[in-house]
Symmetry: C2
């Protein structure tokens, strides 16, 4: 079986991406990060999703992006906005996907894998620069320059199967593949029981996704 | 003053790169990593160098690459070779420079900086794929795709001022700029006092560098 390294955050998109990688026949190695985010609830979600998807291995790498601050997700001094904003929002974590893909690349290189999966999405992407197709293509090129495999002429592929899908289509696809979205957490500020605020950007996009898909929303709100 | 983020390992190359960045008039922010390497002696070296160079700030980010293993530098089960090898050596840490530059990019983005400095060298590079000019150029392109600054049309520059210099020229340049190489550590397996083995690849390249430069070698060997 071909090995795929799948970045797994515990949200809808990465859970669906993992299901797609499984469905495409990859032997999946899931990678999550504890990066100084406000809560570890999403890592609990990632663990449940990894077990349900029968991944070969699930690793959680600690990396303290809060050392740099600069985002509402890693800096307690910056408040999560509860109304729509314009431009790149304060929940953007500087260079986050670059850092995460780099670490995925490191593990892939150790495993001898040449396929990375990431659940970025350019439709409901909240204006994050590192969720664009150009970024994904740029990282793929870099991966081939950065690694032993690239030097030897084997090609890396960065799979971003959701990049052009609206949230409703992502949910429909995931349900077809058996994803239990009740296990996923999207909220930027859930409580300790994993219940969602229902007010942040991420909650709004999630709720609208279930509505558009015409399916029941399994999210528990506080 | 223009801000520059400088990756600082505690070795000859990064110490010289920091001196060059200072000399070019950048206000330097030094970034080091504790990445599960065999010893923390090099972080002590990095601290001394950062102080000598009067950097604006020096941060050490912890990131556990030993979680992935795959290198003699992060996996205690793999022995550091003491004779020349062919091909990419076991001291290569998978995707290390990609991970480090990504984290440098994250800090740069928070600081509003657009200049990253890295002391990679393609001459005495021990065959590491992520020390080549193509890799540096690839990362520069990615940085512009990955970040808010890139979206807004401001350009990142990844400075690799040593990329084409032989070790002897690096040392000569650093001495001109006042670098105290007695503060630097290159050995892959120093003892607790920071003394070098004199037998690993890195020690060999270092010793030959001082010899070729025709200057005294300040290294303490055990």
């Amino acid at each position: 079986m071909t090995i795929g390294v799948v970045l797994l955050s515990g949200g809808i998109d990465s859970a669906t991406t993992l299901a797609i990688a499984n469905d495409r026949g990859f032997e999946c190695y899931a990678l999550s990060f504890f990066y100084g985010q406000r809560h570890a609830i999403e890592l609990e979600a990632a663990r449940k999703i990894a077990v349900s998807a029968s991944v070969k291995e699930h690793r959680v790498v600690s990396i303290d992006l809060s050392e740099f601050g600069g985002s509402a997700l890693t800096d307690a001094a910056i408040k999560v906005p509860e109304a729509p904003t314009t431009g790149i929002p304060v929940t953007y974590v500087p260079a986050r996907n670059t850092v995460f893909l780099s670490l995925g690349l490191a593990w892939a290189e150790v495993l001898g894998a040449h396929d990375l999966f990431i659940g970025v999405n350019a439709v409901d992407y909240s204006g994050y620069p590192d969720c664009r197709i150009e970024f994904i293509q740029g990282f793929e090129k870099l991966a081939n320059l950065a690694t032993q495999a690239g030097v030897e002429g084997r090609e890396f592929t960065v799979h971003a199967p959701l990049i052009e899908l609206p949230k409703a289509d992502i949910i429909t696809k995931g349900l077809q593949l058996g994803v239990d979205y009740g296990d996923t957490v999207s909220c930027y500020q859930p409580n300790r029981d994993g219940e969602a605020c229902g007010r942040c950007d991420s909650c709004r996009i999630r709720r609208e996704g279930f509505q558009s898909a015409g399916v029941a929303d399994p999210t528990r709100y506080y």
